[in-house]
């Protein structure tokens, strides 16, 4: 991890503050040739589009509302006729495919927004702690070691019991718990960057703190943030499903991939299609995000180690 810091700095043009255009050009060039990453990104965009357009599909393709029940057609096997039974029906005769699309809305929303919260909290705190050091840094350090000192699932367990876990509360809980890893990275990078010559010289010519942080330090840690973000979203999608399994995730009847998978698991033998489809969605999503993370890592800095962040 220490080596990551040096290399990121090493790639930069040391004298002028701006991030080198060539870094991003290079990365883009490499990414375009990385077919796997492109495929992963395309799949992810497709999944996201399908989810976002869920109401349109429900109305115009499947002609089935997501909460619509049919007690006379429970556990229908997957079939093309009617199209709403494409992935079969569940225990109260709802269309699995329509619910899966709406579930994607919820799961992806939670994943991306919670990750956004992570970064909104983690990056500024990390930058500030690393840049200003002093008592603030000590406090942040203490807070992070304390939060990291509790196995995350235990912490989630007791917190999730505190609020009714809906999509928004779940975002809040995960968002405000998961920022520590990002903060640690940003802090570490900032500490090593602020000792560099070009930063000290920027100070010497009278640059303000804000200018130094935003023009000299932040751009340098951006590549890392992108990589972390991809992995973070994937982790949150998985976490949501694990919490659902423990009964602490998003509660039905609001569909999420996690609670659909958990619910379906109790019908493993009776209706395999209820288990397979949400499982595949979660697997695909997380896989794509990890592949994108890997691709970004290779593109932005091939020498960045594959050490895990959590």
């Amino acid at each position: 991890m220490a080596s990551a810091a040096t290399t990121v700095g090493g790639v930069m043009a040391p004298a002028e503050a701006r991030p080198s255009r060539s870094l991003w050009d290079n990365a883009w060039y490499k990414l375009r040739r990385d077919r796997l990453t492109i495929a992963a990104a395309a799949t992810l965009v497709l999944l996201a589009l399908l989810s976002v357009l869920a109401p349109v599909f429900a109305d115009h393709v499947f002609h089935y509302k997501f909460e619509q029940q049919d007690l006379f057609h429970t556990y229908e096997k997957p079939s093309f006729d009617p199209p709403a039974y494409l992935l079969g029906t569940d225990e109260v005769g709802r269309s699995q495919v329509v619910r899966l699309l709406f579930g994607g809305q919820v799961s992806l929303f939670v994943g991306f927004v919670a990750a956004l919260v992570n970064f909104a909290v983690g990056v500024p705190v990390g930058l500030a702690a690393g840049y200003f050091r002093g008592p603030f840094d000590d406090f942040i350090n203490w807070l992070i070691t304390t939060l990291n000192g509790i196995p995350q699932i235990y912490l989630l367990l007791i917190i999730a019991a505190l609020w009714q876990p809906g999509p928004l509360t779940l975002i809040a809980i995960i968002g405000f718990l998961n920022w520590t890893g990002i903060t640690l990275y940003c802090r570490g990078q900032t500490i090593s960057l602020r000792e560099r010559e070009y930063v000290t010289s920027a100070h010497a010519i009278g640059a303000t703190h804000g200018r130094v942080i935003f023009k000299h330090i932040l751009p340098n840690i951006l590549p890392l943030i992108f990589i972390l973000a991809a992995i973070d979203v994937g982790g949150i999608v998985l976490l949501e499903s694990a919490l659902s399994f423990l009964g602490l995730g998003i509660l039905p009847p609001t569909p999420s991939w996690g609670n659909m998978l958990t619910g379906g698991a109790s019908y493993f033998v009776r209706a395999w299609w209820l288990v397979v489809s949400p499982g595949v969605m979660i697997f695909l999503t997380v896989l794509c995000l990890y592949l994108i993370g890997d691709g970004l890592r290779d593109a932005l800095d091939p020498r960045l180690k594959t050490h895990e962040t959590h």
Binding site: L71, V92, L251, P252, S266, V269
Partner: protein, 564 residues
């Protein structure tokens, strides 16, 4: 057990089917083989082996195997029957006389005597952590003893000539006493030292609570591997005859899925499964499936005092909610037909079930439901949602405890069907712990709640339905009467069934009261009474003599045997 085999099935729809088509239990003439092991699973570890502290099913099961009770309830009818003791009740229902079986001995050879029952009673009096004090409050002198004002309990008299005979005098007539007084027979040679005149609540932390040494039941404790399993070996000197099986293991598993899996693989000898797993279990050729009606029901409770769902205060609206939910279809969908529709409080297997009167069955009738709603002033607004004269929309949140798939599904289905009536209904599962607190404290935010009652052999509905049990947040009064529904005639029937003014505690007399009681509930519908599930008991084909029914399942464990 005592003549249980001769009893004709009364009201119980008990049936036994082989799992995968293999032949069911062996013929009764077959001679029991000795040895073998029975493994039962529990989802939470047992809490204690001290009967007076038991508050959970798992601990109740184990203490029931270690300590015999004074009397027992018939496994099919729920009527009290002799076990350790024969009993009689005076005609004014104030005096209960018991005589403990001459053969009944503790595992250390000492006879089981009246003093041992008194030890159990004193332990309840001394304990700060028992939840059973009120069971004994009507015994003359018990309250004084419990509060430390007296050092003996005046109402208990042990025969000076026969230490196995005793009588209990009650301060007032209380019909549930016959069951409540079953009490706890504890070995005085072990627990006597915790209930001396000077002892305080030492009984709560007695080491013998987790490591008992002397037993009266068919099994004795060998080892308790905390969090994993309780190993019980047979009590060779059991007074009804040593059990055929050598060992009874009570194993802790994480969830219902683990029990179902264990029954399939044979890792668990017997247990119950959920209806959704029945079809799958029927393909397993190594198990037998017994069905019997459960002693409880799942219902939707209406908060008749809800400030947000004001419609629920109106009887006609509640009736409409009964007609407007296709319960037969719901039973098919939610529990795969393994339940019986319920239209009042008592379940069919209880003797208190109002079998003698006609109850409205609330057969699904959407038109009638809509008519009743209209009658009550709820008509469709411009958006199709029902509204009253003041233009207030009929919103309805149906809460239930999360994690219970069956109830979550029921909530979802009910919400959807009520939407068809024009009610803006939605299902809202929440964690059990939060829900229970809201219910018992009378939280006004609850509108409709899906939850279940498990009833006991004693049918007294006082703590659920008497008006004194309605919680009131203003005075911090708590109770189970969260619907807020009360009716003077119903109160009267409950009181007469519990503390009859003429002292007549006979089943016939009480049954009359409960007919009135159920009739009022049936008409007023403070609950949509939902359904009473079938219990689906699965056992390995090798297990013989296992005859579970609504009121008891391991009552004859000493007669079970394993076919090799």
């Amino acid at each position: 057990m005592l003549g249980a085999a001769m009893l004709v099935a009364v009201s119980c729809s008990s049936s036994s089917t082989p799992g995968g088509g293999a032949s069911p239990s062996a013929s009764t003439t077959e001679k029991p083989q000795q040895g073998g092991r029975v493994i039962e699973a529990t989802i939470s570890d047992i809490a204690t082996m001290q009967p007076i502290l038991v508050a959970d099913t798992a601990s109740g099961r184990v203490t029931g195997l270690l300590y015999d009770t004074l009397i027992q309830v018939d496994y099919k009818t729920g009527e009290p029957k002799p076990r350790l003791a024969t009993f009689s009740v005076s005609s004014d229902s104030l005096k209960y006389s018991y005589e403990i079986n001459a053969k009944a001995n503790w595992s250390d050879g000492k006879p089981i005597i009246a003093e041992d029952w008194l030890t159990g009673l004193k332990a309840v009096g001394k304990s700060k952590k028992t939840v059973r004090k009120s069971n004994f409050q009507d015994i003359v002198g018990f309250s004084d003893y419990a509060s430390g004002k007296a050092t003996s309990i005046a109402g208990v008299a042990i025969d000076s000539a026969n230490p196995k005979k005793f009588t209990v005098t009650m301060a007032k007539v209380s019909c549930p006493a016959i069951i409540n007084l079953i009490g706890y027979v504890l070995p005085t040679q072990v627990f006597g030292k915790y209930v001396t005149d000077t002892s305080k609540d030492e009984i709560d932390s007695a080491p013998e609570n987790t490591a008992p040494t002397v037993f009266s039941g068919p099994f004795k404790l060998t080892e308790w591997r905390k969090g994993d399993q309780v190993i019980l070996d047979k009590n060779p000197s059991y007074w009804q005859g040593a059990p055929n099986i050598d060992q009874y293991v009570y194993k802790v598993v994480a969830n219902q899925t683990a029990i179902t899996n264990g029954l399939k693989t044979g890792e668990i000898t017997f247990g119950t499964i959920q209806a959704k797993d029945l079809a799958d279990m029927q393909t397993v050729t190594t198990v037998r499936i017994d069905k019997y009606q459960s002693l409880g029901y799942t219902y939707i409770g209406w908060n008749t005092k809800s400030p947000t769902a004001v419609g629920l205060a109106d009887k006609r609206v509640r009736q409409a909610l009964a007609y407007g939910l296709d319960m037969d279809q719901v039973i098919k969908a939610v529990v795969f037909g393994e339940a019986t529709k319920q239209v009042a409080h008592h379940v069919p297997v209880q003797w208190a079930y109002p079998s003698g009167i006609q109850l409205e069955q609330y057969k699904y009738d959407k038109a009638k439901a809509l008519a009743l709603l209209k009658d009550a002033g709820w008509t469709p607004g411009p958006d199709g949602i029902l509204q009253n004269a003041e233009g207030k929309k009929f919103n309805l949140t149906i809460s239930t405890n999360s994690g219970n798939t069956e109830r979550e599904t029921l909530a979802t289905v009910a919400a959807e069907q009520y939407k068809q009536l024009g009610i803006n209904a939605k299902a809202a599962p929440e964690a059990f712990q939060g829900l229970v607190t809201k219910l018992t404290t009378g939280d006004s935010t609850l509108e409709a709640t899906i939850i279940g009652w498990s009833l006991g052999a004693e049918p007294d509905p006082y703590s659920i339905w008497h008006s004194s049990q309605i919680p009131d947040p203003a005075t911090k009064k708590t109770g189970f009467g969260f619907t807020g529904f009360s009716d003077p005639a119903m109160d009267k029937a409950i009181e007469e069934g519990r503390n009859p003014s003429n002292g007549d505690c006979s089943i016939a007399a009480r049954k009359k009261q409960y007919e009135t009681f159920n009739k009022i509930l049936n008409e007023n519908q403070p609950y949509n009474f939902g359904y009473s599930n079938n219990v689906l008991a699965v056992s390995q084909l090798s297990l013989q003599g296992f005859k579970p029914a609504s009121f008891a399942d391991v009552y004859n464990v000493f007669e079970w045997w394993i076919k090799k």
